[in-house]
């Protein structure tokens, strides 16, 4: 998988913090952030998930001229798609090597990990896939390592 340049911008951090309802000034107020231990605007712990914005082929973003599986004239824009949930997120883990700061440009690389299967009463056969994303700084040092486990279910998860 190609490496992705991931610019970590102050405005993006502000919008991300807003979305998780986090009003901590260290995420949006440069002057206030300077006076904290972080000594400047930093990113919230789950921010690197937004690397998806910089992946040109990210499959969960509609693209001009391409079919999108969400609703339009009909409930799904892709004919013949089974009424399955597609992929869900099962686990996520971050290792922080140092704080991630506004203004840096990370280089992010995804590596495929293990794959395994499990039977579940709530959703049928489950297929788990692990992905490791290494987010490195301009000197090549690791800033955040992200490990995610996605699961594909046989049928929608029974919420009862």
């Amino acid at each position: 998988m190609p490496k992705i340049a991931f610019p970590v911008e102050a405005t993006h951090i502000m919008m991300f913090a807003r979305a998780i309802g986090d009003t901590n000034p260290v995420y949006h107020d440069a002057e206030a952030a300077k006076k904290t231990e972080a000594k400047g605007v930093i990113a919230p712990p789950t921010f690197v998930q937004a690397v998806a914005q910089f992946d040109p082929d990210y499959h969960l973003r509609p693209k001009p001229g391409q079919q999108w599986f969400g609703s339009g004239k009909t409930p799904t824009g892709v004919e013949g798609k089974p009424a399955s949930s597609g992929g869900l997120h099962a686990e996520q883990e971050y290792t922080y090597h140092r704080p991630l700061r506004a203004g840096e440009v990370l280089t992010s690389e995804v590596k495929q990990g293990k794959t395994w299967e499990k039977e579940s009463k709530r959703a049928g056969k489950l297929i788990f896939r692990e992905r490791i994303t290494e987010h490195r700084d301009a000197t090549g040092e690791l800033v955040v390592t992200a490990r995610s486990v996605g699961v594909t279910t046989e049928r929608p998860v029974d919420a009862s």
């Binding site: 919008m15 979305a19 998780i20 990210y58 799904t76 949930s85 883990e93």
Partner: protein, 140 residues
């Protein structure tokens, strides 16, 4: 602001209400910020009629982000070494979530004082939606 190892003991807890009556709009806000536009999170027509769910639901990463807010409010900025979760149940519009961290261990490693935390986030029915662990750097 930061936690002190000398003032912590195993079993200490911190909890926060991280969202009340989660709105579909906040889920859309998270989609926009994170870049994950999966229609399962914002498109009620697709989610109910094509995918077979009762309604749209939150990104797992939104519930992790909400949980992380409780953690950083407690341990301080730039103090986390590790944060990992499992998404144990879906989070739906209208849910109210409480996130809680419990001190599992206080230890020293390579000259740093660390605290191991177990994390659980539950909805208004007491059902766990996020379960996890974290490691934070603390003062002596």
């Amino acid at each position: 602001m930061a936690l002190k190892a000398s003032q912590l003991k195993v079993g200490d807890t911190h909890s926060e209400r991280v969202v009340e009556n989660l709105s579909r709009t906040q889920i859309v806000q998270y989609a926009g910020a994170s870049g994950d536009y999966n229609p399962l999170h914002s498109d009620e027509v697709y989610t109910t009629q094509a995918a077979g769910y009762k309604s749209v639901f939150a990104h797992g990463m939104l519930s992790m982000g909400l949980t992380g807010k409780m953690l950083t409010n407690w341990v301080g900025d730039a103090r986390l070494k590790k944060f990992g979760v499992r998404f144990t149940n879906q989070v739906w519009p209208g849910d109210t979530l409480d996130a809680k961290a419990t001190v599992a261990a206080i230890r020293e490693e390579n000259g740093e004082h660390l605290v191991d935390l177990t994390i659980t986030t539950t909805n208004q029915d007491g059902k766990e939606v996020v379960s996890g662990t974290a490691i934070a750097r603390v003062d002596p």
